[in-house]
Symmetry: C2
Subunit: 350 residues, 2 copies
DNA sequence: TGTTAGCACTCATGAAGAGCGAGTGCTAAA
DNA sequence: TTTAGCACTCGCTCTTCATGAGTGCTAACA
């Protein structure tokens, strides 16, 4: 057999089996697994000594590690990666029958925000890990209607309603010379011409197509350029919804304060979280340990699942747990939950 | 001298002095303070033995405690309370000269939300404790304008803009039989009659004063009752802005995971936090340990400072730290910061 | 009468060492 | 190829011991 990306050659059936058993055991008990423990399983016919030889080989191949010279083995990052890619699917298929069709949403979840919030809570409650829902980017939604409501002589509130019912708003400073009638005209023009345009594109559309219209209908002395820039300077990003922020504290590997602290700080840092949880992939992605490319996450795994609207990826629901997480359970859970979210979300727009 | 609420009688000057020195020292070093430590201070002329006698008396009076029979003393809750009420002001006045006039807000803080958020961050950064700003209750603001924007045949978005520029919005289900023109009429009536009314009062005002108007101007077959209830069912509460959520982890008294966990969980529980941080008082209130009336807060002190708008209390900025917090520093800081918030907030509305 | 030196006593803390047990790698025999 | 046997390694836990910072009490002193 030829070399592959996993090392010098393929693993033997027995090695595969032992590796899987060991990782399963470690995930369950969070303690280094020794040869004796493995040999005691009913379905294992080999003696501890034989197992030891195999374990030494698996360690040489980089799938396992020891915590000290005479300890049992724990999976390495590479080990988990292999487990997730090659050992899980076979098991996974069998058990996936019992779909998690019933999630305990409270009676009526009418609005998207409530759906996201509850999904995050449900997921973290069911797994005891930390979950995050990355909301849709409102700027990708299409403009349904906009309003400018003056609240004082100089200040006004600009409101943008999207086709999904999301509302963006911000305060703006009115040009000195503007009249209520000008404002009304402006709002009418914008609503006429820009309904159905994605918020993020409003700015370029206006610059390209509407300067002529403005010239025709509005007084020339208004400094529309600056005003429009202010109006359309989008700053808000996707919203994040959390569940089980403190669940990390009950994971045995983070029993140590100095280990949890960076983790909790990470969770509180919006930019980092956004990056961690964003994915352009439809479907499900798993990142293990250092694959997350941040020191604080080096002992964590992150699973992102995509939810969609009209078939388009618009956000993710994610689970953050220790690298030793219950992948089997968690993956199928996340899979069903993201589908459930997609269903309900698309139900809203009917 | 007659008995007072602090015990059998007044404390002697020397007792007051020793108590203050001890608490100051404990706050600084977070370790039980012994007689020797106190007697070593320059301004103390008595021997350890004398101090010991006084300490024993102060303990009998309930101001001090021991961690074990032969340890130094630490302040009791009653001790802190006395310290804050009677020992602090004298010191406090002298040093308050150096006001914290310069808070490091980023260039332009234009909107209230940004102000609250930054205030919380600044406060937690400067103290290394956890801070929370309780935003104004939008429902107490006055209606400037409302809009109902249909987004599909059955759904619409209702938007309420307040005189402060705050925007409340929610999705509503439209009555089957309603026409766009009905909606327009309704919005016009509401804007005409209800501008300037506090959001929280809209419902009663409508029921009292507008049913006649509706009868006159709208078709009778519309089931306005249910619709209006839906429109005016306020659910959202005041917003909370956090700073330094994980700062508790660096406090020596919470080095133990089992001690921080309930604390962090508490911080994440909206209802509890809201209750903790709400206060109707103008000015500054301090609650020490069990005065907070929640198990998780029994080793914490909470300081609430009020910020106002046009002289009216509209929200609070709070600091949560261990009972042994640096009251002196923190109180003057919170005092100045809440005033700064008030200033900027009132500046916005000019 | 208030203050202080002296002294016996307490208790937390940290270091040192022993014993245990779960694990290993290696060797030699089946 | 598999396995029994064995020496060896570490991490843990428990105990013991010494140390030192603190106390309360008593008796003497100013």
């Amino acid at each position: 057999m030829s070399a592959n990306k996993w090392g010098d050659g393929m693993l033997t059936e027995r090695q595969l089996f032992i590796l899987r058993v060991l990782i399963d055991d470690y995930i369950k008990h969070v303690e280094p697994v020794g040869s004796r423990t493995i040999s005691k399983r009913e379905d294992i016919t080999y003696s501890p000594a034989t197992i030891r030889n195999e374990l030494a080989d698996l360690e040489d191949l980089g799938f396992l590690e020891k915590t000290h010279t005479s300890s049992g083995r724990i999976p390495s990052e590479k080990g988990y990666r292999f487990y997730v890619d090659h050992l899980l699917p076979s098991l996974f298929m069998e058990e996936n029958e019992m779909g998690h069709s019933e999630f305990l949403f409270t009676e009526k979840v009418q609005e998207a925000e409530a759906l996201f919030d509850q999904s995050a809570k449900i997921l973290s409650d069911m797994t005891n890990y930390t979950s995050v829902v990355l909301g849709p980017n409102a700027l990708d939604m299409k403009l349904k209607n906009m309003q400018i409501i003056p609240i004082s002589a100089q200040m006004a509130v600009a409101i943008f309603v999207t086709n999904t019912g999301h509302v963006e708003n911000r305060q703006i400073v009115l040009p000195d010379t503007i009249e209520p009638s000008d404002l009304e005209k402006l709002v009418n023009i914008l609503n006429d011409r820009l309904a159905g345009v994605r918020l993020i594109e409003l700015n370029t559309r206006i610059k390209k197509e509407l300067s002529a219209v403005f010239k025709k209908h509005l007084r020339n002395d208004l400094n529309m350029g600056v005003f429009l820039d202010q109006l359309l300077l989008w700053s808000k990003k996707e919203k994040l919804f959390y569940g089980g922020k403190t669940n990390m504290l009950s994971q045995p590997e983070f029993r140590d304060l100095d280990k949890v602290r960076p983790l909790l700080d990470f969770l509180e840092t919006r930019d980092l979280m956004e990056k961690l949880v964003s994915s352009t992939d439809k479907g499900l992605t798993i990142r293990i340990g250092t694959e997350n490319e941040h020191e604080a996450m080096k002992n964590c795994s992150v699973i992102n699942a995509s939810y969609t609207m009209h078939g388009k990826h618009i956000g993710t629901i994610s689970l953050i747990g220790p690298t030793r997480m219950e992948y089997k359970k968690v993956i199928s859970l996340l899979d069903s939950l993201s589908k459930e979210m997609t269903n309900r979300l698309n139900g809203f727009s009917k």
